[in-house]
């Protein structure tokens, strides 16, 4: 059975290790914060200028001067700090952030990612995505394996304008966990009850498959 968005977030949450500073993109990545183990110390960075982001505020306690990069009202946790946008991207470019989790429209087997523009249809801008993918050492993409038309978003080569080249390390979808190796996508795990054949059929790119592919551990 294919996973839902919360399950994808739960699986990615397992990649978050003790002592990590993590930047979460908009969409599925934002949900990851809900599932990180509570017995480890992790700080979330939002590129508009906050480290130590907490959950949404209680109703009536929203502060217009305290938002995340998705422009949602947030809170801060003990140990939090604020800084300006230049400093924030210095922190990202300087590789002080340990893990970046973001969404994508397409990922290619060489690690290219496209997530900011559909020519003639959607041009909202790249925001901080180009800076994040160009600088982060550890990038995990959270995305749906196929688009609404049922076409694979895991490709030999991206067709949309690129956000970054050769940067993605791992992709988690509703069907599979894949690692990007110098030889292309390597299938690491499959969603519970989903067959390897189903994943191959849903993937345009070639998959490297070695031995038995275990099921993802969600809970």
């Amino acid at each position: 059975m294919a996973l839902d968005k919360n399950d994808i977030a739960k699986r990615i949450a397992k990649e978050v290790k003790d002592g990590y500073y993590v930047n979460l993109g908009i969409g599925i990545p934002t949900l990851v914060a809900n599932y990180v183990r509570t017995d480890i110390s992790v700080e979330f960075q939002s590129e508009n200028g906050v480290l130590g982001m907490g959950p949404f505020p209680y109703e009536g306690e929203e502060d217009a001067d305290l938002i995340n990069a998705g422009k949602q009202t947030i809170t801060t946790l003990p140990g939090a700090s604020f800084f300006d946008s230049g400093f924030s991207f210095g922190m990202i470019r300087g590789q002080h952030v340990d893990l970046t989790i973001l969404g994508a429209m397409e990922v290619a087997e060489n690690g290219d990612i496209a997530n900011w523009k559909i020519p003639g249809k959607m041009v909202k801008g790249m925001g901080g995505a180009m800076d994040l993918v160009a600088s982060a050492e550890n990038i995990i993409v959270a995305m749906m394996h196929v688009n609404k038309a049922g076409e694979s978003k895991i490709l030999k080569k991206c067709t949309l304008p690129l956000t970054g080249v050769g940067c993605v390390k791992k992709v988690v979808t509703e069907l599979a966990v894949m690692e990007i190796t110098p030889k292309g996508f390597k299938l690491l795990e499959r969603a519970p009850g989903v067959s390897v054949e189903h994943i191959i059929a849903s993937t345009e790119a070639e998959l490297i498959i070695e031995g038995e592919i275990p099921e993802m551990q969600i809970d």
Binding site: K71, G86, M126
Partner: protein, 233 residues
């Protein structure tokens, strides 16, 4: 003490003319110089090039200037959430340059710090790098980006003093500090304007040397773009 205080938004915005390039602080609607934007709408200054991370929403922030077609060109990193913007962009009425957010911040900071250009990995191999010099450093490709040149920077701070020293609050800080001193003239609008000596120098985020004019904003609506909350247990 060199006094930077002016008494009104009208006085603060003197000299802003049609066709000029403005930098405006803020991220989304958070930390935007809303009093100055309202006055620019009032003045009807047009043909403006605006450097700002976002373009406001349809009826607030820079969206107000877009509605009146006062903006010729926007230089931003993200422009969603604004239908009028999209319409003007697609019809070709509005020129738009989209650049990576970190590059936008650094181009402000470079202007502030007297650095004419710098190299960043952001955008290498994508369409934003087209026509730009690329160079390898430490085995990685980087793109050369230039400092912005602007006539006025308009920023919003929480507290300021008559010497022009500024303190920002929360994530309303964002691009504001990077834009101070990044244009020929920097205007700061603040929620609280205090006599010199009222701010602890240890707590000042931006020193007054970067500010030419400071005024107390008459009214701050501080609109929230995405009101997200959780239920009490």
């Amino acid at each position: 003490m060199i006094n930077k205080k002016v008494n009104s938004v009208q006085e603060a915005l003197q000299g802003i003319e049609n066709g000029m390039t403005l930098m405006l602080g803020g991220f989304g609607l958070c930390g935007i110089p809303e009093n100055s934007i309202a006055e620019l709408v009032q003045k009807g200054t047009h043909n403006l090039t605006c450097i700002s991370n976002n373009a406001g929403v349809d009826d607030f922030g820079l969206g107000l200037l877009l509605q009146k077609k006062q903006i010729k060109k926007m230089i931003s990193s993200y422009v969603g959430e604004n239908a009028e913007f999209e319409r003007q962009m697609l019809s070709g009425e509005l020129e738009v340059e989209l650049i990576p957010q970190g590059t936008l911040a650094e181009r402000c900071r470079a202007a502030q710090a007297g650095i004419p250009a710098f190299f960043t990995p952001a955008g290498y191999g994508t369409e934003v790098a087209e026509g730009k010099e690329a160079r390898e450093f430490n085995g990685k490709m980087h793109v050369m980006e230039h400092a912005f040149k602007a006539d006025f920077a308009i920023v919003k701070a929480w507290k300021g003093d008559e010497a022009g020293n500024l303190i920002f609050k929360g994530t309303a800080r964002n691009f504001n500090p990077c834009m101070c001193g990044a244009a020929k003239i920097t205007i700061a609008e603040v929620e609280e304007l205090l006599p010199a000596g009222s701010l602890d120098p240890n707590q000042v985020h931006i020193p007054g040397i970067l500010i030419q004019r400071i005024f107390k904003g008459e009214k701050f609506e501080k609109r929230i773009e995405q009101r997200t909350t959780r239920k009490r247990d």
